[in-house]
C-alpha cells in the first residue's frame, strides 16, 4: 500500500523532472539526503523515521540549492554541478554512517537500510504521511497545472507573460525533493532516482498529452510499487527497493518496444512495410512505363524484361498479381485496367501525400 502511493507520487513528479531534462537531479537529491539522515540520527540518537526524514529533507534541499547556485554562478555545466554535489554529499553521508556504526549505540543497526530501502520497516504512520503528502502534491498540481506546463515548455516566454518563474520553479523542485525523501525508506538512496524516472519514461512512450503522461506515470509507478513489494515479500532477505526498480524498468523496456506510436517494434514494422509498399509501387510504375508504349495496355510482355529492373522479385510480382493489378500468362505478363489506373495515379498520390 505504502509503496503504491510512493510509486504514484514519484511517477507524477518524475514526469516533470524528465520533461525538464533534469533527470539526474533526482539522483543528486537522493544522495544528498544521506548525510541529513546520519546527522539527524547523531543529534537525536533515536531511529524515529520522521526525524530522520526531516533531516533528509533539509540536506536534500541544501544540496538542490547548491546545485542551482553552482549552475547560475559559475561556468560549470549542470551535469558537472550535479556530479560534484552528488558525490560530495554521498561521500560525507557514508563517512558519517561508518562513524555511527562504530558508536556504542544499540540503535545504530538498521540505518544502512536507507541505502537500499526496506519496505518492511514502513509502519502505518509512515503510510499516512505519504498519503497526506501525495494529496497535497495532487492539489498543488491541479491548481498550478497551467503554470507548470508553460514553464516546462518555454521558461523565457513564461517570464514575459508576467509570471514569477522562480516561484514556479522552486515549487516544482521542492515537491520533487519531498517525494524523493519520502521514498528513501522504501527504495533507498542509491536507487531512488529510478523511481522518479522509470515510470515517466515509460509513460512518455504511450502518449502525446502531458495530462495523460502524468496519470500514466502515476499508474506505472503504483504498479511497480505493488508488484515489487509482492515479489520481495515472497523471498526472505530480498530488498524491496531493487525489486521495485527492476519492475519499473521492465515497464520501461516494454514501453520502448511495444508502444504503438513511438515503440521500436511498431516503428520497425512500419519501416519494413513502407519499404515493401514502395518497392511494389516502383515495380508497378516500371511496368506502367512499358505498358504505356503499346496502344493496348493489356498487351503481354516477357517477364524477362523486368529482370533488369532493380527491386523486382518474384515476390513483388506475386503480390501485384494478388492485388489484381497484373495478370500472368506463362512467362508473359500483362497489365489489367485496374493496375494501369492505379499506376497512373501513383505519382500524384505520392506528391500530395508529402505536402499534407
Amino acid at each position: 500500500m505504502g509503496t503504491a502511493i510512493l510509486g504514484a507520487i514519484t511517477g507524477m513528479l518524475g514526469s516533470f523532472a524528465v520533461l525538464r531534462k533534469q533527470s539526474l537531479l533526482g539522483d543528486a537529491i537522493s544522495h544528498a539526503a544521506l548525510p541529513g539522515i546520519a546527522i539527524a540520527f547523531l543529534i537525536t540518537g533515536a531511529k524515529d523515521s520522521n526525524t530522520l526524514l526531516l533531516g533528509a529533507l533539509v540536506s536534500g534541499l541544501i544540496g538542490t540549492f547548491w546545485i542551482r547556485g553552482i549552475i547560475t554562478k559559475t561556468h560549470l555545466k549542470s551535469d558537472t554541478a550535479l556530479g560534484l554535489i552528488l558525490s560530495l554529499f554521498f561521500g560525507f553521508g557514508m563517512l558519517l554512517l561508518t562513524y555511527i556504526q562504530k558508536q556504542p549505540n544499540a540503535n545504530q543497526a538498521g540505518l544502512d537500510k536507507y541505502l537500499f530501502g526496506q519496505a518492511a520497516t514502513l509502519v502505518e504512520r509512515d503510510v499516512w504521511l505519504m498519503a497526506i503528502v501525495t494529496g497535497i502534491c495532487l492539489l498543488v498540481l491541479l491548481l498550478f497545472w497551467k503554470e507548470f506546463k508553460i514553464l516546462l515548455f518555454d521558461a523565457d516566454y513564461t517570464k514575459t507573460l508576467g509570471f514569477n518563474t522562480k516561484t514556479i520553479d522552486i515549487l516544482i523542485t521542492s515537491f520533487i525533493v519531498l517525494a524523493i525523501v519520502l521514498g528513501l525508506q522504501t527504495v533507498g538512496v542509491v536507487l531512488m532516482s529510478a523511481m522518479l524516472l522509470a515510470p515517466a519514461a515509460a509513460a512518455r512512450q504511450w502518449t502525446n498529452s502531458l495530462g495523460v503522461m502524468v496519470i500514466l506515470a502515476a499508474i506505472f509507478g503504483a504498479f511497480s510499487g505493488v508488484f515489487g513489494t509482492a515479489i520481495s515479500a515472497t523471498q526472505n532477505n530480498l530488498s524491496t527497493g531493487p525489486v521495485i526498480v527492476i519492475v519499473a524498468s521492465i515497464f520501461v523496456l516494454l514501453s520502448f518496444v511495444f508502444s504503438p506510436s513511438r515503440g521500436l517494434l511498431f516503428k520497425q514494422i512500419r519501416f519494413i512495410k513502407n519499404r515493401r509498399d514502395l518497392e511494389l509501387h516502383k515495380t508497378l510504375a516500371f511496368m506502367y512505363n512499358i505498358a504505356e508504349t503499346h496502344e493496348d495496355i493489356t498487351h503481354p510482355h516477357a517477364i524477362k524484361i523486368l529482370n533488369n529492373f532493380q527491386g523486382f522479385t518474384k515476390g513483388t510480382l506475386q503480390k501485384l498479381v494478388h492485388k489484381n493489378y497484373v495478370k500472368l500468362d506463362g512467362n508473359m505478363w500483362y497489365m489489367t485496367e485496374e493496375g494501369f489506373k492505379t499506376a497512373s495515379n501513383l505519382y500524384n498520390q505520392q506528391t500530395t501525400g508529402d505536402n499534407e
Binding site: 520533461l19 531534462k21 561556468h75 491548481l143 498550478f144 497545472w145 497551467k146 503554470e147 506546463k149 508553460i150 516546462l152 515548455f153 518555454d154 523565457d156 516566454y157 513564461t158 517570464k159 514575459t160 507573460l161 508576467g162 509570471f163 512518455r204 502518449t207 502525446n208 498529452s209 502531458l210 495523460v212 503522461m213
Partner: protein
C-alpha cells in the same frame, strides 16, 4: 514624422561574463513601425530583445514602454522566441501552445476557458494553421512551428511585438505568410520589432531599421539609413548590397 515613442531604451549595458554584449544602447522606437534589428552573429540582437523584455538582467540602463517601466506595461508586449529555444518533443498540441498566449491575462491558477479557446482558434486561423490544431507539435514542420509561435503572440493582443528571427529555417511560403501578418499588424497601428538576418529583404519587408554590433550603429527609416556606409560600419567588411529602386 511619427508621433508617439513606443519603446525607449536608455544606456542599456549587458554582459554575460566579462565582455559586454551590449554597450550603452540608447534607442527610441516610434509607434507603428515595422523594424528590423540587423547585425553580425554575436552582435547582441537577441540579447537586446531579451533585456528589453526582462528575461536577462542588464548591468545598467532602463527600458520604458509608452513612457512607463516595462513591468507595468507587460500586457502591451508580446514575444516570439527563437524556434530553437524550446523542446518541440514536448507532449502537447498546436492549439495548446497557442492557448499559452492567454495565460498572462488569466494570471495565476485560473484555467483557460471557452473564451480563451476561441481566441486561440482565431489566431490559428490567421496564421493558416487551423487544420493542424490537434497535431502533436513535434509532427509540425519548422515553418509550421514558427507560425504556431506567431499565433501564440497574436492571442496576447498586444501593441508591441518582439520577434527573434521568425524567418530562420522556414520555407518561402511561410516567410511570405509571416511577413503579410506583420504588415497587417503595422496597418493596425501595432509596433513590430524583428531580429532579422537576411539583409537583402530588409528594404522590401521593413520601414525602420536598427544596426547593432555591441554598440548601436544607427537607427531610423530604411530609406534614409539603409546604405553601404552603415552596413560597413556594422559588419566590418566592405559590405555592398544592391538596393532595388
Amino acid at each position: 514624422m511619427k508621433n508617439k515613442i513606443a519603446v525607449k531604451v536608455d544606456d542599456l549595458t549587458v554582459a554575460y561574463n566579462y565582455k559586454p554584449v551590449l554597450w550603452d544602447i540608447d534607442l527610441e522606437i516610434p509607434e507603428g513601425v515595422l523594424m528590423a534589428i540587423v547585425g553580425p552573429n554575436g552582435a547582441g540582437k537577441s540579447t537586446l530583445i531579451k533585456s528589453i523584455l526582462g528575461i536577462l538582467k542588464p548591468i545598467a540602463g532602463s527600458v520604458s514602454i509608452y513612457g512607463k517601466p516595462y513591468e507595468d506595461q507587460r500586457s502591451l508586449v508580446a514575444y516570439v522566441p527563437q524556434k530553437g529555444s524550446v523542446d518541440w518533443d514536448f507532449p502537447t498540441t498546436a492549439l495548446d501552445v497557442v492557448k499559452m498566449g492567454t495565460y498572462g491575462s488569466l494570471g495565476w491558477i485560473k484555467r483557460p476557458g471557452l473564451k480563451q479557446k476561441k481566441a486561440a482558434l482565431e489566431a490559428l486561423e490567421k496564421v493558416g494553421m487551423l487544420p493542424f490544431k490537434n497535431r502533436q507539435i513535434s509532427q509540425l514542420s519548422g515553418g509550421q512551428q514558427q507560425r504556431i509561435f506567431l499565433a501564440r503572440a497574436l492571442v496576447q493582443n498586444a501593441s508591441i511585438y518582439f520577434m527573434d528571427e521568425p524567418f530562420q529555417g522556414v520555407d518561402a511560403t511561410t516567410e511570405i505568410a509571416i511577413i503579410n501578418i506583420l504588415k497587417e499588424l503595422r496597418k493596425a497601428g501595432k509596433t513590430v520589432i524583428v531580429v532579422h538576418h537576411d539583409l537583402q529583404t530588409v528594404p522590401e519587408y521593413f520601414d525602420w531599421v536598427t544596426f547593432l554590433n555591441v554598440k548601436k550603429i544607427a537607427t531610423g527609416p530604411v530609406k534614409d539609413i539603409f546604405n553601404d556606409d552603415n552596413l560597413t560600419k556594422t559588419y566590418g567588411i566592405n559590405y555592398k548590397v544592391s538596393i532595388q529602386e
